[in-house]
């Protein structure tokens, strides 16, 4: 019994020393960078969808699912760090969620890249900065995988530490979280309009099914 207590003490000291210093702060804001980056990617996809009138195909939406599922891992860690309940296990769980979702999302991206890989195929949608959106999605998933690997290498030194309650940085963290939740909510509304009463997206969507179904077009 005494031996167990000693072991717990050692782990506790290890964890508390890991929570101090610049690494913990960098890890905390690195997770926010992850959230902000995917919010930017999905808002850019909305710009292409609503402003340029290019509708997302089922594989495009599945890649958005992958991005959101992955970012939920980052959110899971951030929220525990803010509450002061983050443990090494909790951190590893969040990183694992991000990694597994990135592998799933990148599988969808690879499928879509291979669909259009043959010479003469112009691909789905207009390219952005020379690459199609699914290729960019694949690159972002690989970046997340590399980030997770790096964070695991920094363990336990890089366990995220949140700024104290009342600090301005904490308000920024809250704002970023709400933007992310807003982006998910916007995707929920968009998918309802795209699918209509069908429940699934058509292979090559050309409009908002819900509006067409309600107006009888």
């Amino acid at each position: 019994m005494a031996e167990i207590v000693v072991n717990e003490t050692v782990v506790g000291e290890d964890a508390s020393s890991a929570r101090s210093g610049v690494w913990g702060t960098l890890a905390f804001w690195g997770l926010h960078g992850w959230v902000v980056a995917y919010c930017f990617v999905m808002l850019s996809a909305f710009f292409i969808q609503f402003v340029e009138g290019e509708f997302p195909c089922p594989l495009c939406m599945l890649q958005r699912y992958g991005m959101i599922l992955s970012t939920l891992g980052a959110l899971y860690v951030i929220m525990q760090a803010r509450r002061g309940t983050l443990t090494t296990a909790g951190y590893a769980q969040g990183l694992g969620m991000g990694l597994i979702a990135s592998i799933a999302g990148s599988s969808v991206s690879v499928r879509q890249i291979l669909l259009h890989i043959k010479p003469g195929d112009s691909g789905y949608g207009a390219p952005v900065l020379g690459l199609h959106l699914y290729t960019w999605a694949f690159i972002t998933f690989v970046i997340v995988m590399l980030y997770v690997g790096l964070m695991l290498m920094l363990m336990p030194r890089g366990i995220p530490v949140a700024p104290p309650v009342g600090a301005a940085a904490r308000g920024l963290s809250t704002a970023i979280i709400w933007v992310f939740l807003g982006v998910i909510a916007a995707n929920v509304i968009a998918i309802i309009f795209l699918e209509g009463f069908a429940g699934v997206l058509p292979d090559d969507p050309e409009g908002y099914n819900l509006i067409d179904q309600l107006t009888g077009r």
């Binding site: 089922p58 594989l59 599945l62 699912y65 992958g66 959101i68 599922l69 939920l72 959110l75 899971y76 929220m79 509450r83 909790g90 769980q93 969620m97 597994i100 979702a101 799933a104 599988s107 969808v108 499928r111 291979l114 669909l115 890989i117 043959k118 979280i177 992310f180 939740l181 998910i184 909510a185 995707n187 929920v188 998918i191 699934v200 997206l201 292979d203």
Partner: protein, 47 residues
């Protein structure tokens, strides 16, 4: 997608680890299921 929003809100509200992880796994399985549903054609490629 609604499930993903629910998971996000549960994480924000501080729900238990078990419920968050279980729902997240359900979301992942649904995503893989949708992927399987939408992948209907065989890729005629060889490397």
């Amino acid at each position: 997608m609604i499930l993903l929003l629910v998971i996000g809100l549960l994480i924000w509200r501080g729900a238990s680890r078990g419920s968050v992880l279980a729902l997240w796994v359900v979301g992942l399985v649904l995503m893989v299921g949708l992927f399987k549903y939408h992948v209907t054609s065989h890729l005629d490629l060889s490397f």
